[in-house]
C-alpha cells in the first residue's frame, strides 16, 4: 500500500495543474468558511450568519459541510485530469507492462481519492471545531453533537469523486468527462421536471421520491440546507427538523460500491 501511494503521489504532486488546483481548493476551503463569518449584505439586508447560530454547535457542522461541499468540483477536476492523462499518455498501459497489476492501479487511484477526501474532511473538521469553540451557543451544546455531518461530508466527496473516476475511465477524454459530469448534474433536475409534467395533476410526492434516488441527488441529500433549520425558515413554513438521513446514507454507499465495481469491470475486461 505504501508503494502504491508513493507511486500515485509522485504522479499527482509533480503534475503542476493538479498541484495548483489542490492549493486553490485548500484556500477556498478556508476562504468560504472565513468569508461567510464576516458581515455581508444581500438584497440590501445586513446578514450576520454567526448571530443565527451557523457558527455555533451543533449547526456549525451542518453549515460548514454544506457550504464547502460545493468545492468538491475542484477535486473532481484533479481526478478527471490525472486519470484521463493516464490513458491519453498511455502510461496506464506502460504501468501494466512495468509490472503494476490492473487491480493495483485501481487501488492506487481509489486510495488517492480516499486521502483527498480525508484531507478535506480534516480541514473542515478543524474549522468546525474552531468556530464552534469561539461562538458558544446558548444554552451550551457539546462538541460531539451532530458531528456525524463530517462523515456525511466525507462520503459525499468520496462518492462524487468515485463517480468522476468512473466516467474518466469510461470516456478517457477530459473534455467529454467534464461535459458528462456537468450535463449529468443537470439531467437529474430535468428528469424531475419531465416527470412532474408527465404526472400533471397526479400524485407528485412519488416524483420527488424517485429523484431522491438518483446518484448525485442522493449524495447531496445527506447534508440538508442548513438555512431550513433556522427559526426564520420555520416561520415561513419551509423549516426542517434535523433527521438522521439513513436512506440517503445507505444509498450513497450502495452507489459508490456500484461505481467502484463497474470501474473494476472495465479495467479488468478491456484490452489496453
Amino acid at each position: 500500500m505504501k508503494r502504491l501511494l508513493y507511486i500515485e503521489w509522485q504522479k499527482l504532486y509533480n503534475y503542476r495543474l493538479a498541484r495548483i488546483f489542490l492549493i486553490i481548493y485548500f484556500l477556498l476551503l478556508l476562504g468560504v468558511s472565513i468569508g461567510l463569518y464576516q458581515e455581508f449584505s444581500l438584497f440590501g439586508k445586513e446578514i450576520r450568519l454567526k448571530d443565527q447560530g451557523f457558527y455555533s454547535f451543533p449547526l456549525v457542522y451542518n453549515f460548514l459541510t454544506y457550504a464547502n461541499s460545493f468545492l468538491k468540483i475542484f477535486l473532481a477536476f484533479i481526478i478527471i485530469s490525472t486519470v484521463v492523462s493516464e490513458f491519453t499518455n498511455r502510461t496506464f498501459k506502460q504501468n501494466l507492462i512495468d509490472g503494476l497489476t490492473r487491480k493495483e492501479w485501481l487501488i492506487s487511484k481509489l486510495a488517492m481519492i480516499f486521502l483527498l477526501c480525508l484531507f478535506s474532511t480534516f480541514v473542515v473538521g478543524i474549522l468546525c471545531a474552531f468556530f464552534g469553540w469561539v461562538n458558544p451557543s446558548k444554552p451550551p451544546v457539546g462538541m460531539g453533537v451532530q458531528m456525524e455531518f463530517l462523515i456525511f461530508y466525507f462520503l459525499e466527496n468520496f462518492a462524487f469523486l468515485v463517480f468522476a473516476f468512473f466516467i474518466s475511465v469510461i470516456l478517457r477524454k477530459a473534455i467529454f468527462a467534464f461535459l458528462f459530469l456537468f450535463v449529468w448534474k443537470f439531467i437529474e433536475p430535468v428528469i424531475m421536471v419531465i416527470l412532474n409534467f408527465a404526472l400533471k395533476g397526479g400524485d407528485k410526492t412519488n416524483v420527488k421520491k424517485i429523484i431522491e434516488f438518483l446518484p448525485l441527488d442522493v449524495q447531496s441529500n445527506m447534508i440538508t440546507n442548513p438555512v431550513r433549520r433556522t427559526e426564520f425558515a420555520k416561520s415561513l413554513n419551509i423549516g426542517l427538523e434535523y433527521q438522521f438521513p439513513t436512506i440517503s446514507l445507505i444509498l450513497t454507499i450502495v452507489y459508490t460500491l456500484l461505481f467502484i465495481y463497474l470501474t473494476y469491470r472495465i479495467i479488468m475486461k478491456k484490452d489496453w
Partner: protein, 297 residues
C-alpha cells in the same frame, strides 16, 4: 537450454478478426529473437498478451517454467511498446523513479540505466522536451532498470532518423552481448538480420517459421547487384538458370542462387560475360526470399 518463454496455442480475436491464430513458439535463454512480420501480422497483439495489457481469447504461455506469478514476472523483465509512454510533465529521473517503484527495484539503478542509453546529462529535463530518439532511448533505460533477464522491444526504431536508428541498434547489441535474452518485434527484415540470432516470422497471426536465422539460409544465397547497363545485366542473367530474380530496382536487381556461392565467384562469372558489377552485396538467403513472398501475398 533454459526455456524462458513458451507460448502454446495462443489466440486473440477482435470480433470477427483473428489477430493471433494458434501461435506457438519458444524463447531460449541468451538468444536474440526477431518477431518479424508486416504491419497487422499480430506482433504487437502477441506481445500485448504476454505483457498482460490484452486479454487472450484462448491459449496459454509460461514464463521461466511457471515459477513466478504474472506480476512477479513483469518485474523481472523489461519491455517497451510501440511508442515510448511516460509522464510528459515529469523529468526522466522522476519518470524512472516511478518505474523503479512499480518494479520494486532500487532507485540507485537509475543512473546506470540512463548512462547506458546516453541520457544521464539530460536526466532533469522534462520528458516532453525530448526528441523521439531520446524518448525511445529512455524507454529502453526504463526497461533495463531492473537488470532484466528478458528485454522485449516493440518496433524500437520506428519513426527514427538514421542516426537514431544506429544509436538504438548499438544499445541493443551492447545489451545482447551481456547475455540478456531479447525479443525484438519489427517489420524490418534488415533490422532483424542485423540484430537477431533467431527469428519468428508471422503472417496473419500465424507463425510461418521459427528458428535460427542461419538455419534457414543453408541452401542458396541472395545477392543485391548493380551494373551500369541494367538491361544487359538482366539479359546475361538468362544464361545462368540457377539464378532467380527476386526484385528489380531502378539501377539494379536482387537475385537468389540455388546453391551457396561466394561474392567473388559471382563477380567472376559476370566478368567473364563482359559485365562488371559496380555494386555487390551478399544477403542472408531464404529469409529475404520468404519475407518478400510473405509480403506479396
Amino acid at each position: 537450454m533454459e526455456t524462458i518463454l513458451e507460448i502454446k496455442d495462443l489466440t486473440k480475436k477482435f470480433g470477427k478478426l483473428t489477430a493471433v491464430n494458434n501461435l506457438n513458439f519458444q524463447v531460449e535463454k541468451g538468444n536474440v529473437y526477431g518477431l518479424l512480420g508486416p504491419n497487422g501480422s499480430g506482433k504487437s497483439t502477441t506481445l500485448g498478451m504476454i505483457l498482460t495489457t490484452i486479454n487472450p481469447t484462448s491459449g496459454s504461455w509460461t514464463w521461466f517454467g511457471n515459477q513466478f506469478s504474472t506480476s512477479q514476472v513483469l518485474k523481472k523483465i523489461g519491455a517497451t511498446i510501440e511508442r515510448p509512454n511516460f509522464y510528459p510533465y515529469l523529468s526522466a529521473q522522476k519518470n524512472l523513479e516511478i518505474v523503479a517503484a512499480i518494479k520494486e527495484t532500487s532507485k540507485n539503478n537509475i543512473e546506470e540505466a540512463l548512462k547506458l542509453v546516453g541520457l544521464y546529462e539530460r536526466k532533469d529535463d522534462k520528458f516532453s522536451t525530448y526528441s523521439l530518439g531520446m524518448k525511445q532511448r529512455l524507454a529502453i533505460a526504463a526497461a533495463m532498470l531492473n537488470h532484466p533477464e528478458v528485454l522485449i522491444l516493440d518496433e524500437p526504431t520506428n519513426g527514427l532518423d538514421p542516426q537514431g536508428i544506429i544509436q538504438i541498434r548499438e544499445i541493443i547489441n551492447n545489451i545482447a552481448k551481456k547475455g540478456t535474452t531479447i525479443i525484438l518485434a519489427s517489420h524490418l527484415l534488415d533490422e532483424v538480420e542485423k540484430v537477431c540470432s533467431h527469428v519468428i516470422i508471422l503472417r496473419n497471426g500465424k507463425s510461418l517459421y521459427s528458428g535460427p536465422v542461419d538455419a534457414i539460409s543453408e541452401e542458396g544465397d541472395v545477392f543485391s547487384i548493380k551494373a551500369s547497363d541494367v538491361d544487359l545485366l538482366k539479359k546475361t542473367l538468362l544464361d545462368f538458370p540457377d539464378f532467380k530474380i527476386l526484385q528489380e530496382f531502378k539501377d539494379g536487381i536482387e537475385i537468389a542462387t540455388r546453391e551457396n556461392i561466394e561474392g567473388d565467384t559471382l563477380n567472376k562469372m559476370f566478368a567473364e560475360k563482359g559485365i562488371y558489377l559496380k555494386y555487390l552485396v551478399k544477403k542472408k538467403a531464404n529469409l529475404e526470399e520468404q519475407f518478400l513472398e510473405l509480403i506479396k501475398k
